[in-house]
Symmetry: D2
Subunit: 144 residues, 4 copies
């Protein structure tokens, strides 16, 4: 299988297009099924008690499926999330990066569907699972 | 119907317990069905193009159902999100606050379910809808 | 607002196109927001204990958003469900029809999103909530 | 890892407790992660065009996570589905059984979460994915 973008290209794209989150995420690996992405956990991601907040876990799932899509179709900044579902199952380990493992289940002309398992680095226990749907706009503005 | 916490109490609780997001959210109104919460949109919430990012919209939905729950049961910081689903339907208007209107559909002993409609302030069009489930831990740690 | 199909047209379409479920569903009302659909509960819908099974509640949600879509755009048999999320919140009353109230939140060129509240007839308590996304195929086969 | 119920015990439980669906599902295999369940496709499961309907695909996902739970905790008829999300990605092959592969991601005291990949028998392409949450009632009635 050929990839349209590798780790370096994905990381460069992310930092160029989404400067707000450039320090948050690191592309670890492009895989046959998708990508592995790290959330570099810092103080700003935490809730009381020292665990990563739900919205930051959601952000990791969202970006992981996005990057898995780009790895296959190449840079497409207009691609937009149309829906997502997420289950939070365990508390993340305190002060530990999160690792999101995304796999693409469908890569259609219009819709892309992937799911993600999220773990604390070094642990097998799944913290959260998510499925995310992106829509790939044809020509013109992204209005679904 | 009696409320356990009003707007002022909810806002004070939010700011005390979640200082990281104290500038993000404002409790607008406690209603018979739930609450209305504002996301005070700032530069840090935006994606390229000037629209609020998906994770920030998710955060608004999440906090709105949380606050709707507290309005009924009183302060319960241990309450944890167990699952959520969200549909992103339109682009938010640029540079405009988002208003989330949450209603509780179930307030059980263990699980609370609410849904949320999110709009740009001053617009009728729904930007996103979400449903969120919280679990209320019994005594002891929050492990679902 | 003009409707493309009224109650009678929707019911006739359902019975012609989906003969397997013709005895299951009855279009009660087309509303400004969507439709109200009845699941005519019979022995075959029940689980032990006499309550309607989850898949039959899902079916009601699915058909309700479908019919709400048709009420606006007219007959489009190719329209396909692309995703759904559902929360089951209470046991349905035994031996009682279920009433699903669907509202359309987005009617786009490609994607339609609606949500549904489901109650036992004569009760205010919400049994289940669901959100359902349909995709409207352009010309050609429905492959999303 | 020890299982509380094997294929034969699960199949017998299903047929005894859910006689309405006894001809629909067959437990293929208990695995380290969960179970593999077959939907024995018959005329009654089909939509126009000869493909399995969405609610029947949902039913397969629902029962697969249920059976995966029972394989671990033993017979617990009161266990109830509290939420589910499903993505329909491809049309099932006509006239072909569906195979659902469920894995448990969390087996808590109160909540069980699993996800399911569904394929047409003999095909690698994923027709649908679902995640399903069950709640395990303590003593007393199952009210979440």
């Amino acid at each position: 299988m050929a990839f349209a973008m590798d780790e370096t290209a994905l990381q460069a794209f992310l930092e160029a297009e989404f400067p707000q989150v450039r320090q948050d995420f690191r592309v670890e690996r492009v895989t046959a099924e998708g990508v592995v992405v790290r959330l570099c956990v810092a103080e700003r991601h935490l809730r009381p008690g020292g665990t990563v907040s739900g919205p930051n876990i959601f952000a990791l799932a969202d970006v992981a499926v996005y990057l898995a899509t780009l790895a296959r179709i190449g840079p497409a900044a207009l691609t937009v999330t149309t829906s997502a579902s997420i289950d939070f199952m365990r508390k993340p380990a305190a002060g530990t990066d999160l690792i999101g493992e995304a796999r693409l289940l469908k890569l259609g002309r219009v819709l892309v569907v992937g799911d993600v398992l999220i773990r604390s680095e070094g642990s097998d226990a799944v913290i959260a699972r998510a499925s995310v749907t992106y829509s790939i706009p044809p020509a013109g503005p992204a209005t679904g």
